[in-house]
């Protein structure tokens, strides 16, 4: 019996050993499963848009200074490293480094050429007179300036290190550098591209443009990722009043990548909502306005919005509800008349003839449901002026005069009405800003800047307001929440023009501003003031009235359409100069009474 037991035990042990031997091994050899993925071919746009390095200027001091002022351009993470290359080793610590989103570059406009003086001991001192334009943050927003310095000074020395004379490359080092990163506006234009991103207004009915700067050094493949990040980061501070960003804690998961010609964006979207995702899709398709082809938005919860073609999507979801082109009108002899130019369409006056008299200036806008909004400034007894407003299908039947009269009323502007909602407009009267509705009820609106308000202009979206207060240019965001027009904080726009007299929106992110350099001029100024360019430099007199049909991506026109009035004469701008609007070009002008003085067209404007 014991023998049997022993045998059974042995066999059981053998079984156990066998069974234990066929488990998952503790360690195995390396087994190859095939080759890894190959490098995917693709066009690369690397290596462009990097600012020149320290040694690129050779011995030319002025180029060196210009390069130094451009060194911060490029990807913000390495901005300090690039600038520090220009700074002498012993002074590098004086430039306190910031990390990540803290990186901010002071964008300055050089008001004069840098002055380089050499003192007796051979030390080169550089004096750079500047105008502070703004602060370019890592997220591409150029915000208002935070410093008021009008001049920066630093020194240069030869590149030879002490005791290493032979290693000199003929270049320079900056000693005693400014404590902040500086970027010339020229360099900003050269090494960055401006991108327009769009945010929804508070009730998500209208896209509002905002501007971002993208370093050219960033490859095109990362544009989508950057655009999504911009949208996630929210609008510029001054826009926050009328605009809403994406939900909090929205995040881009890694980078957006292109797979088989389709862009894929993975998002972490709280409160996962397909409607929000679709809104974001429209936002993104406009924000990537130069991108065609399919795009797919996916959230972590696998909600998915696929846009088959971005271009078609943009067409189906126009950013502005513009269906017709602009029509030119002018005030002639106290009445509104259409203007006739070669190929342009000719409009009809949308108010009744009995209302069309004693008009000083007017604002006509098309609204939804075939309606037309009309706001007229007409003369009132006692040399005063009064606002008359009305709305309805043309011709507008009811025009209501305002209760108040003012010494002087500026050109009124309509904020873009939303559907059947109450339309509102803004007007400057006696140096103050008022809002009005289509029954001419005027209520004063507080402005965040001190001084006399002299002009107001509104963008196509109706939320961005340009103001001239105290002769200076400001931007503000208008909110129509609760049926009350209110303005958010103002953002000053730096420009070299002084004594500003009139403003209007020339493009989505560009203003047309009339002012004075030495002579009266009309300039295009970007909304952040970083870029400005002269449109008309020889106006000859102060511009009192400026009307522009803003260039926009929905209804594209071949050239800038601008009209202005100076010294009682209306001009039409035709690139590159302006010409007078003659009375023959005014339609329906009754023949002047014999011997009567021929009237002249004034206060020209666009109906759109």
């Amino acid at each position: 019996m014991s023998r049997r037991r022993t045998l059974a035990g042995l066999l059981c042990a053998a079984l156990l050993a066998l069974a234990a031997g066929c488990g998952i091994p503790d360690r195995s050899d390396v087994q190859v499963d095939g080759s890894g993925p190959a490098v995917s071919a693709g066009a690369s746009s690397f290596g462009r848009g990097e600012p020149p390095t320290r040694t690129a200027s050779g011995a030319d001091r002025e180029i060196f200074v210009r390069n130094f002022l451009a060194a911060a351009a490029g990807e913000p993470e390495r901005a300090y490293a690039r600038v520090k290359q220009f700074i002498a080793r012993e002074d590098r610590n004086r430039l306190a480094e910031k990390q990540g989103s803290e990186v901010a570059i002071n964008v300055v406009r050089l008001t004069e050429k840098p002055v380089i003086t050499e003192n007796a001991s051979g030390l080169l001192t550089v004096r750079v007179p500047v105008q502070q334009v703004g602060l370019l943050r890592a997220n591409g927003v150029l915000g208002p300036p935070v410093v008021t310095d009008t001049e920066y000074q630093f020194s240069l020395r030869g590149s030879a290190e002490a005791g290493q004379e032979s290693t000199t490359d003929g270049g320079y080092y900056v000693t005693d550098p400014p404590s902040v990163l500086l970027l010339d506006t020229l360099a900003l234009r050269q090494y960055y591209q401006t991108r327009t991103v769009y945010f929804w207004n508070s009730d998500a009915t209208r896209l509002v443009a905002d501007q971002r700067y993208l370093p050219l050094a960033v490859p095109a493949e990362r544009l989508v990722s950057e655009a999504v990040k911009w949208l996630i980061a929210g609008p510029s501070d001054w826009l926050r009043q009328g605009v809403s960003g994406l939900p909090d804690r929205t995040a881009l998961i890694n980078n957006a990548v292109k797979t088989d010609g389709r862009w894929e964006v993975n998002l972490d979207l709280p409160g996962d909502d397909r409607r929000k995702l679709e809104k974001l899709g429209i936002q993104l398709s406009w924000s990537l306005s130069d991108l065609d082809g399919p795009l797919q938005l996916t959230t972590r919860n696998q909600s998915r919005v696929t846009i088959d073609d971005l271009a078609a999507h943009r067409l189906n979801n126009p950013v502005y509800p513009l269906t017709e082109g602009p029509q030119r009108f002018t005030v002639y002899d106290g009445a509104i008349h259409p203007l006739v130019f070669e190929t342009e369409s000719i409009g009809t006056v949308p108010i009744r003839a009995e209302d069309n008299h004693t008009i000083v200036s007017a604002a006509l806008r098309r609204a939804a449901e075939e309606k037309t909004l009309a706001a007229l400034v007409s003369t009132a007894p006692g040399g005063r002026q009064r606002l008359v407003a009305g709305s309805g299908v043309a011709p507008v039947q009811v025009m209501t005069p305002a209760m108040q009269t003012f010494t002087a009323i500026g050109r009124p502007v309509w904020l873009r009405p939303l559907g059947a909602a109450q339309p509102y407009g803004l007007v400057v009267a006696d140096g103050r800003l008022y809002r009005f509705d289509d029954r001419a009820r005027m209520v004063q609106v507080a402005v965040g800047a001190t001084g006399q308000v002299s002009a107001v202009a509104t963008s196509l979206d109706g939320h961005r307001i340009a103001l001239i207060v105290g002769g200076r240019l400001y931007l503000s965001a208008a909110s129509l929440d609760g049926g009350v027009v209110s303005l958010g904080p103002v953002r000053p726009v730096a420009t070299t023009l002084t004594d500003l007299s009139a403003v209007d929106w020339a493009q989505e992110n560009t203003l047309a501003v009339a002012g004075s350099t030495n002579r009266s001029a009309v300039y295009e100024v970007s909304v952040d003031g970083a870029q400005q360019a002269a449109l008309v430099t020889d106006v000859g007199a102060r511009v009192t009235h400026l009307a522009v049909y803003p260039a926009n991506p929905t209804y594209v026109l071949p050239a800038v359409m601008m009209m202005y009035e100076a010294n009682g004469v209306a001009y039409r701008y035709r690139s590159p100069s302006a010409e007078t609007i003659r009375s023959e070009q005014v339609l329906d002008v009754p023949p002047p009474p014999a011997g009567g003085r021929v009237g002249s067209p004034t206060a020209p404007f666009f109906l759109f």
Binding site: R3, R4, L7, A8, L11, C12, A14, L15, L16, L18, A19, A20, G21, C22, G23, I24, P25, D26, R27, S28, D29, V30, Q31, V32, D33, G34, S35, G36, P37, A38, V39, S40, G42, S44, F46, G47, E75, E77, R78, P219, E221, R222, S225, I253, N254, N255, V257, K258, T259, N266, R300
Partner: protein, 585 residues
């Protein structure tokens, strides 16, 4: 004990013999156990069958269990590998796309992207406890790009150099490693794939813990093992039961046969049912019945025969007595008859003597056959018995010219015997020797040791032919049937002597060779009832020559120093027990 480290010399002196003793004890025990096992193995059919069943079924079940467990493990592992490979390929594609946006390893956002990618591939949720670890390393850009893992832990020890080399070579490869990442020793399936980028190659690793697979494999293994063991035990039990079913009746049959052979003729087997075993039992019972009937019949016949002999002897005695008396009368008066009649009277007298003698012997034999012979043992000195026998036969010896020589100890040889029967045996033996002595001396030798006494009677007559040593004890046997009897031998003397010796518990044996005469040996125990093992005297006389110049059958060869330094081979110095088998009956 033997593993004691560094034993001191004093100890070594002490424990070596102890160890040796222990070793010996162990070896002895092992040997004993082995011997016991062997004996069990030889004796028990059941043990053999059960053992063989256990061994064979264990091998079979073990083989199957191994196959099944191995298959399950490999399926689990294959599934895991397929899953991970799919994830890895997706992951490396995804990573490649993500990193494709960067042209230099120094780019600041690359590190963030690597981290984001790793987190994304790991599922994003650091609390997730799937245990999968995703790592992106940059062996070519050490110092520029840090290794990122999600969840953050040091995976270097788990990614072997060989795997690293294979991945660096642009291959997707995997390996199973065991390591400790989260505090517990775990098996990991480590998969690696290169991630091509614009500036070079990064490496993506997935470390997937194999808890679940391991546990499932262990479960499966345990199940298979338990089933296998249970199956083997069950088979063993089954074999034991079945064997028992067969063996028990066989054992019963064996026992019954043993009893039967021991004379218990009425033993029978129990017949149950109608199967083969029942058939066996029935046949056995029939055989036993037949045997019993036959034996009884034979016994009856034998008894009748013996009775007949006894009856005939008795019935003959009465007329013989009458005839004897008449014959005696005639014999006494023979001188008055004419010589021819007188001669007849003498013949009649002689034949009547023989007749009487034969009748006495027949009666004696029939007493033996009937089992009525009784031993009348008493301590007796055998020396005077031998002398008496020699004296009695001296006349006959003188007549045939034979000298009787005695070789008896001077001291008394006391043994518990029946002197009358011993004397009859010796008389018979010596008488035969004298009769067949052919005028050559007859030697009577008496020997004794602690347990036995022996008497040999040696003659130098014609001797016995081979095979006749046993025949001489048969009743009415004659060496030469044609030879006329010179003495009044009845042909029953040696038979009666043999029965006498048996009655004492002793031996009567014969030896003879043609031309060398014969020797008879009577061996009796010193104490009545003792069992004999040896005899003090040799059966084969020392002067007998060997037939082929070698030792005789059954005799020992002695090897010892011979002349001239050579070895001499000769008969052994003492008798061996084998000799006694020659004529013992």
């Amino acid at each position: 004990m033997t593993s004691t480290p560094n034993p001191t010399p004093e100890h070594t002196a002490g424990w070596r013999p102890a160890a040796r003793a222990l070793g010996r004890a162990l070896v002895g025990r092992c040997l004993r156990v082995t011997a016991g096992l062997r004996q069990t193995w030889r004796r028990s059919l059941q043990v053999r069958v059960v053992t063989i069943t256990l061994v064979v079924s264990s091998l079979l079940v073990g083989g199957f269990a191994y196959l099944i467990a191995d298959k399950i493990t490999s399926i689990l592992l294959d599934n895991a590998e397929t899953d991970v490979l799919l994830r890895l390929r997706n992951g490396s594609d995804y990573s490649a796309k993500q990193f494709n946006l960067y042209s230099q390893p120094q780019e600041a956002q690359l590190q963030d992207t690597i981290e984001g990618t790793v987190n994304y591939l790991a599922g994003g949720d650091p609390q997730q406890t799937s245990g999968v670890v995703v790592a992106i390393t940059a062996d070519n850009y050490a110092g520029i790009i840090e290794t990122r893992t999600s969840p953050a832990m040091d995976v270097r020890p788990l990614v072997s150099r060989e795997l690293r080399a294979a991945v660096a070579d642009g291959k997707v490869a995997h390996q199973i490693r065991t390591g400790r990442l989260t505090g517990e020793q775990t098996k990991y399936l480590v998969y690696g794939s290169p991630v091509p980028t614009r500036f070079g190659q990064l490496e993506l690793y997935y470390l997937v813990p194999l808890h679940r697979q391991d546990a499932t494999a262990a479960d499966a293994r345990a199940t298979v093992l338990a089933t296998g063991v249970a199956l083997v035990l069950l088979l063993g039990l089954l074999a034991a039961l079945v064997t028992r079913l067969v063996v028990t009746p066989v054992r019963v049959a064996a026992r019954t046969a043993q009893r039967l052979s021991a004379g218990l003729l009425d033993q029978r087997m129990v017949v149950n049912g109608e199967d083969d075993l029942a058939l066996l039992a029935a046949s056995f019972n029939q055989m036993a019945t037949n045997l019993q009937r036959q034996i009884l019949r034979l016994e009856e016949m034998s008894r009748l025969q013996r009775r007949f002999t006894s009856d005939v002897s008795h019935e003959l005695r009465t007329p013989l007595t009458t005839v004897r008396m008449a014959a005696d009368l005639i014999f006494a008066e023979r001188d008055e008859f004419d010589p021819a009649v007188a001669r007849s009277a003498e013949l009649l007298q002689a034949e009547l003597d023989r007749f009487e003698e034969l009748l006495t012997d027949l009666l004696e034999i029939s007493r033996f056959d009937a089992g009525f012979a009784m031993l009348d043992s008493e301590p007796t000195d055998l020396v005077p018995v031998v002398h008496r026998v020699a004296d009695r036969l001296a006349g006959l010896a003188e007549r045939v010219g034979v000298t009787i020589e005695l070789a008896v100890p001077t001291t008394p040889v006391i043994a518990e015997v029946d002197p009358r029967r011993v004397e009859r045996v010796l008389r018979n033996l010596v008488g035969n020797a004298v009769e067949h002595g052919e005028a050559k001396p007859v030697v009577i030798t008496l020997g004794v040791d602690q347990t036995a006494v022996a008497v040999t009677v040696r003659d130098h007559g014609v001797g016995l032919k081979p095979g006749e040593e046993k025949l001489v004890f048969n009743r009415f046997w004659r060496a030469d049937p044609s030879r006329a009897r010179q003495t009044g031998g009845t042909g029953l003397g040696l038979s009666i002597s043999l029965e006498d010796a048996r009655l004492h518990g002793g031996w009567l044996e014969a030896w003879g060779a043609p031309g060398q005469g014969a020797q008879f040996r009577l061996t009796l125990p010193v104490r009545s009832g003792d069992r004999l093992t040896t005899s003090p005297l040799r059966l084969v006389p020392a002067d007998a020559t060997l037939p082929f110049g070698g030792p005789r059958d059954g005799d020992l060869l002695a090897i010892g120093p011979g002349g001239g330094g050579a070895l001499a081979i000769g008969p052994g110095p003492t008798a061996t027990p084998d000799e006694r088998a020659e004529a013992r009956s």
